[in-house]
């Protein structure tokens, strides 16, 4: 293994990290807002809104992301109306096209996750909030949204990770993020394996950190599942043989 070359490669590719992160964070946040809107449309009970959201999810999930990127980056310029519109300075730039495509794409997947989270809220909670006289908005803000976020977070975490992976497609429309720099380096040096190792390690590191952040958020959002400090061991601990042995308690799960 040629460590000098690996180091060189690392130095060449690292400048691409900020762009990858910008693309991922920007489109994940915008996508989250759009996903919430879509999920609410799906559950609004208004037929036309419901159908629009359904069609959106069907189309965006049924076609490859690369097709969507090309449709926005190359396709929209075909229409003179678009070229003469106020949006053209944005749609001409590959960065904005990539953000737009990634946002629209992740919103489709995200809306289904959020919809699942919203559907998982026990009816009793909503009835209780109504019985307290909460307004629709207050009920949504205080009861529905926090519970839905808690429920949807693990699945949405996976979506964030696939967003980081999806930003690599931006390299195909000339953006020099991690994969773009890696591909350039491969075509210059023809040392695909070494470059792959370095670029892959960078992606793994990003996703590792992201996973930790999501786990931490999950931990913060589920205080009711944590053990009380210094309290009575919960029933789960008693079912866990290792914890039971540590506590000197009888029991343990029968396998």
């Amino acid at each position: 293994m040629d460590f000098a070359f690996l180091y060189e490669t690392l130095l060449t590719i690292l400048p691409g990290v900020p762009l990858t992160l910008k693309l991922a964070v920007g489109s994940a946040l915008l996508g989250l807002v759009l996903a919430l809107i879509l999920a609410l449309m799906r559950l609004s009970g208004v037929k036309p809104l419901e159908w629009v959201a359904r069609l959106y999810v069907f189309v965006l999930r049924g076609t490859p992301l690369l097709v969507q990127i090309f449709l926005i980056y190359y396709g929209l310029g075909q229409f003179p109306a678009v070229r003469h519109s106020l949006l053209w300075p944005f749609l001409r730039e590959p960065v904005w096209c990539a953000v737009l495509a990634l946002t629209l794409n992740t919103a489709a997947y995200g809306s289904e996750i959020i919809r699942g989270g919203l559907l998982s809220i026990p009816g009793g909670q909503i009835e209780a909030a109504r019985a307290c006289g909460m307004s629709r908005f207050l009920l949504f803000r205080r009861i529905v949204l926090p519970l839905a976020i808690r429920q949807a977070l693990p699945a949405y975490g996976n979506e964030f990770i696939s967003m980081v992976k999806a930003t690599s497609l931006a390299s195909i429309i000339t953006l020099m993020e991690i994969t773009g720099l890696a591909a350039k380096l491969i075509s210059e040096t023809y040392r695909a394996i070494e470059v792959f190792i370095v670029a892959g390690a960078i992606y793994l590191a990003i996703n590792f950190v992201l996973t930790r952040i999501i786990l931490f958020a999950e931990y913060r959002l589920t205080p009711h599942l944590r053990e009380r400090p210094g309290g009575v061991p919960s029933i789960d601990d008693r079912l866990d043989p290792a914890a039971a042995a540590a506590e000197g308690l009888p029991g343990g799960k029968v396998h």
């Binding site: 189309v59 449709l71 075909q78 075509s187 695909a192």
Partner: protein, 239 residues
Amino acid sequence: MNRPGFIELMGFGEHGWGATMLHAALITLAVAICGFLVGAVIGVFAAWAKVQGGPVLRRIADAYTTVLRGIPDLLVIYLFYFGGSSVLSTLGHLFGQSGFIGIPGFLAGALAVGVASGAHHTEVFRGAYAAVPKGEIEAAMAIGMSRPLRFRRIIAPLTLRTAIPALGNVWQLVLKESALVSVTGVVELLRQAQIGSGSTRQPFDFFLAAGILYLVISTISGWIMSRAERHYSRGMRRA
């Protein structure tokens, strides 16, 4: 300049691209099916390593699924396309061939898609195997079935039955991933759309047509998958 409309452009007339696009859709299907099968084979072995393998095999399988789910598939395709060519060239040198030997894009693409989707396959097979009632396997042992027979008659059918819905999801992923193979120059649906839009200057129409064809393929295959699921779960009771 008078531009032909979408219907005319994608039609089957003299200047229509309909037949070309349909042919490209078949290539996409071929890439996706090959990639899916490669992934399934890898998935079976990796799942077996995770369930029954020793500590070393299990570590390798765990590392494989962790790494492949953490890095972009596009990177894997580049690795196989460029890496495969340099490996082939080196092998060529050993056998007295001089110069560059390129790996065919189709082969590199199908292998890369297979290796990338193998990580998903692994988890699907592992989960489905865990759902096989242990009593079934014990019963098979009790009547003296040999290992291969047990696998063929009991484990494989029961695992596949539970795995069908999840395999359907993996197939949809693979189908969409196959679009990335266009970077290797294989003239599949997306590459054909790029070629078409280059020569007619109507990129929107071509990418729209490609998108519609992807939707058609994924809808039809989704329908087939749900039929298969219903067919193979005839003997199961719905809770």
